[in-house]
Subunit: 354 residues, 2 copies
């Protein structure tokens, strides 16, 4: 517990609870107006606390990327979890099988017959089939089948696989890729209809396009992570204002070795090297003259207007370029409560790589 | 315990103990021939296990960047620790004061009167003074006093400060900056002599220049971190061969969505976004045709020669661009023993940001 920012040792990750709660509520309301189910991605906060806030606000369930993250959330009683990942390998398939026994609604994605074969090997003798969505590449160029035809083929394969149940279509679209999503998904759903397959869910997502999210007559669900804290990249693309940024890295000036140069106690081990198109490593709140020009592991080098005051021991608040990766660099959050006090919150799913 | 690579779930950080031990021994011998004391930086391995191997091999002590790292090493009985950092703020100064009571030889660095003032506030009533080295900027442009004159001034200030003891000069040089180090340090030591101050230690370091490290008539100690595992950046600059790389990230192909494109289960949450001048995110051992062209948090996108075989479920070994930052992304190492078996080793000082 810390009463004031001055009592928090740095570097620290400070989250303003009121802002985070407002962000959750605002996008939940937006999705409800659009007729979209909201399934937040826990990758940004990685905490049981905020997963529950998101569920209580009206989310249909949560999204995880890793089984180990889903296990943390299942331990906390979250009962609808989509893992948007191809689960590959015996160790993970065994964990997935065990997880399915204790999560009311568990689903995963797959984008190939090889992945489906592995899933079935784990579930063909299970009491209940595992729900599998087909991942579609609608332009982002990462995972996913390349065409509506392939999507329909895999859906049919899942339907005809004893241990599995077809759960729908899923995509992680490119930024601005909404028209492609609509076109791809409409075509795929039509092909499914021809094969007599119902498509219960079409799941899309992404924070950069959050305020233009819509059903387009086919999308049923939106997945989104960054919106809870927001970050510099989302301010830059117009999705939010600085006042909507709930997550800050609190740092201290530890050296002022030369005119216009200062060093903070936060480097890539805290801010990460993610640039996301920026030329420096974060936005210093209330001091736009300061540029975080380079990072080593434990030092950040600032250039600043030497006519403006700065001193060793002074604390600065930084909005990171990319907040999700920063959550993974800290074991704990300092959660700023509405009364201005700060409480420690463990980042339960930090470092869950498996 | 895992007998084979096939039994290790991915992504995983696998360290070959024989190679790491050989790297430790080889550079220890090199330093002894040069008449340099070796003080390894634990930032690369962050483990008590390897700190002890380094000490047993003949290191005079270890280097840490953070008090929280030094505490972990002190808990394990390491009794000579240099923290190469300006310790700023009451919380850290209190921890430093407590740490000094249980580490036989503890020293820190300082590059300003403000930092020295803070250190003295914590130590002026201590039984024993705290040893403080003056950090010098010999060209890297990070922390450090800017001239030999300033170095001598600060040394005098430390000498005349009741709670502190002058321990010498320290620099983190620019790559290739050895001539500057020699010139700066010789001038500073001469100035100290004029003031009647003995300079017991002149500490330099850095892995990129490890094989040209020498005393130059003034340097007494070398600090180095990456050499224990080595990485792609050190192969690139000629400091080592691929066979000297002890640390690998083991990954699995989880998707092959389009010709020449494959996806691995390791993204920036494991490999980090550190490029270190490379255009992709690591070297895939035995498959130079593969380029890790982009990372999201949990996915790495590979381009590869489609005429060469690759399959979903296949494991690949990656030498990271920058191995130190990868150590911080895993809770545990899989340590490959000489008998070919793998043991789990906790990365004791992972995530120590304070």
């Amino acid at each position: 517990m810390a009463d004031k920012i001055a009592e928090i040792d740095t570097p620290a990750f400070v989250v303003d609870e009121a802002i985070a709660n407002r962000n959750i509520k605002r996008f939940q309301e937006y999705c409800e107006k659009q007729g979209l189910a909201l399934r937040p991605h826990i990758k940004t906060h990685k905490t049981v606390h905020f997963a529950k806030v998101q569920m209580d606000a009206g989310a249909v369930g949560i999204t995880c990327q890793k089984i180990s993250e889903a296990e943390v959330m299942a331990d906390a009683g979250i009962d609808d979890i989509l893992i948007t990942y191809n689960i590959v390998g015996d160790a993970k398939l065994q964990r997935l099988r065990m997880l399915a026994d204790r999560v009311k609604k568990l689903s995963v994605t797959a984008d190939s017959a090889a992945v489906i074969k592995g899933l079935n090997a784990a579930f063909e003798h299970a009491e209940n089939p595992l729900t599998v969505l087909v991942e579609c590449d609608t332009g982002a160029g990462r995972c996913g089948v390349q065409s509506p035809d392939e999507a329909a083929e895999l859906a049919l394969l899942i339907k005809n696989t004893r241990g599995l149940k077809f759960g729908g279509l899923m995509t992680y679209p490119a930024v601005g890729g909404q028209p492609n999503v609509a076109e791809f998904m409409c075509a795929a759903v039509d092909l499914l209809k021809e094969k007599g397959i119902l498509c219960p869910v079409v799941s899309s997502g992404g924070s950069p396009d959050m305020w233009s999210a819509k059903t387009d007559g086919v999308v049923t669900e939106y997945r989104i992570g960054t919106y809870i804290y927001n970050d510099r990249s989302l301010v830059e693309n117009g999705s939010c204002d600085w006042d909507d940024c709930a997550g800050h890295v609190l740092v201290t000036i530890v050296s002022m070795p030369a005119e216009g140069r200062a060093i903070i106690d936060a480097g890539s081990k805290v801010l990460t090297s993610d640039l996301l198109g920026f030329s420096d490593y974060g936005h210093v709140v209330e001091r736009p003259d300061i540029k975080i020009v380079s990072l080593s592991e434990e030092h950040g080098t600032l250039n600043y207007d030497a006519e403006k005051s700065l001193e060793i021991g002074q604390k600065l608040k930084i909005v990171p370029n990319h907040v999700c990766v920063v959550s993974n660099m800290f074991d704990r959050i300092w959660l700023r409560k509405e009364n201005g006090r700060h409480e420690m919150l463990t980042i339960d799913a930090r470092g869950m790589v498996l």
